[in-house]
């Protein structure tokens, strides 16, 4: 009985792993095949030459993926700096001060967690347009840093674990609030910052809806819309599309293998916002 349930357990895990890995594996196979080979061999047949990187070269250069990576990094870099300052400033103000209107501000942030961004884009679009940011990478940067309530929440939560005696000691030494914020609060928020960098990094890297809506010029496109563009000209060249898919997955896979623990922690704390 005991071995039977144990076998069943492993069997279900093996089946689940096959279901997860098979579609990915076939993309790996396809990405190394030549066009001829892709059409003439079955999808389950491994490629003849595991060192055929031609599709990768085609996808990377013709698909403009270098520029797309650059745009993604640029948008991420600017958005993450903004997110950190916004989150830390909000957390500092809400946790360390009592002031008129505090409850109202807390209420506003809470209520906002209930509004899914996808539902309001029809109207958000008009605002971005009115600001003259349509087609600009700044539109995405602004939206990524201005609508991220989850990150603010992570900062607010973490702020409570930073002892108030630290700021008090600094106040006695004559430090102003700005100095306390930069020299005491920000450095002590490092673990929260790390969590936010990880979840937000993956979120921005994978975001498709916003760049699809706001960035029409190929030269400003991040990685997900660049990959989406493969559907057009390479629509029938599955070996090139496969290589493009692999190029987008590899950085995330490497990151995952090195930062597994932090990624799991980040998503469990981020999701339970």
């Amino acid at each position: 009985m005991k071995t039977a349930t144990s076998t069943a357990k492993y069997l279900t895990l093996v089946i689940a792993s096959i279901c997860t890995l098979l579609p990915l594996g076939l993309i790996v196979f396809g990405s190394f095949k030549t066009n001829q080979e892709f059409l003439s061999t079955g999808p389950l047949t491994p490629p003849q030459d595991w060192f055929n990187f031609e599709n990768y070269a085609t996808a990377f250069t013709r698909g403009g993926m270098g520029l797309a990576f650059f745009n993604t990094v640029l948008i991420f870099g600017a958005a993450i700096i903004g997110t950190i300052f916004i989150g830390a400033a909000t957390a500092y103000a809400l946790d360390r001060f009592r002031f008129v209107g505090r409850a109202a501000v807390v209420g506003l942030f809470l209520l906002a967690t209930l509004v899914p961004g996808v539902t309001t884009q029809v109207a958000t679009f008009q605002i971005i347009n009115a600001l003259g940011l349509y087609g600009s990478r700044w539109a995405l940067i602004l939206l990524f840093m201005g609508t991220d309530i989850v990150s603010i929440y992570i900062f607010v939560q973490f702020m409570r674990s930073i002892p108030k005696s630290l700021d008090e000691a600094a106040t006695i030494e004559g430090a102003g609030h700005l100095r306390i914020f930069f020299q005491i609060i920000l450095p002590n928020l490092k673990p929260a910052i790390a969590t936010v960098v990880i979840i937000k990094g993956i979120g921005i890297y994978n975001e498709f809806f916003l760049p699809f809506l706001y960035l029409n010029d190929p030269s400003t496109q991040p990685i997900s819309t660049a990959l989406f563009a493969f559907k057009g000209p390479y629509g029938s060249q599955w070996e090139v599309i496969s290589a493009g898919v692999m190029i987008t997955i590899i950085p995330i896979l490497v990151l995952f293998l090195f930062l597994q623990r932090y990624i799991y922690n980040g998503f469990t704390s981020g999701a339970t916002k």
Binding site: L44, D95, F109, V115, V118, T120, A123, Q157, T248
Partner: protein
Amino acid sequence: MTTAASSFTGQAAAAASEPDLAHPTGKTPGGVGRGSARYRRLTPYLFLLIPVGLLLLLTYTPVVNMFWYSVTDWDGLDKTKNFIGAENYVEVFTDPENLRVFYVSLFYVVGSFVQMALALYFATILSAKIRFKNMWKGILFFPYLINGVAIGLIFLNFLKPGGGLDTVLMNTGLESLIHQWTGDPDIANYSLAAVSVWRYTGLTFVMFLGAIQSINSEIYEAAALDGANRWDEFWHIILPSIRPIVGLAFILGISGSLSVFEIPFVMTNGANGTETFVIRTVWMAFERNMVGLASAMAVVLLIFVLLVTWLQRRLVPEEEVDLT
């Protein structure tokens, strides 16, 4: 989301009850003048200026505008917006093309239940002693990290006629099951919902696993002394103690199902009867310039999401779930 509520407000309550330690205003030694005291009173407002400004600009203004647009015939360009009352809402609920998106959402809602069941099963078996735990966990979770466009393309390749799935079925003698997975309107929504399950099970699973692992091990030990088996443990310890997380996964699942976009957009572009709420709203607003009608759709979607969240909070009150 549920914990956000308790945490923000819990903190407010705690702060109210404790002596005002964090309020250095006016108590600062070292000859601070009147101007400086006023500056200190202003400090929290200065820190909140940009965060709240962006919150109002990018979250609240769009919501308010959306309600206003939804009762007009605005096309997104015109200077004037004519008030037309509930006309857009009538169209949302009477045009069969619009009603269809609700039906399509149901596939994803069912998908999210399947996803929760799978996640719960794997989280339970991986919380016990098992070999290669990290490897299984990694494999199950990884799809969640993959770009949605990449997932769409991976499964277009896998499900296309003569693709991976068809080949597997052929090799195992199940030719009769072969279908036009994304081309046949009777099947396409099942296929797309299954892809969604593939994508999101990992996240739900890791959330459940984290919650199960944070259960105090003494409870298991006490239960073992009472002669509880693994099944009793699941029903009487694991399930009750992860109820808040299950509730959260439920809201995320429903609101996610209503706002599905990437997978069907990349894989079928809404063809073959797979058009979803968001695909239709985007198409209306940006291709057909019917911003008024699209806003009405979006308002309906928003109200659905709020309703589900409210219902969930009524059904699973937070304070009941504390086991320890």
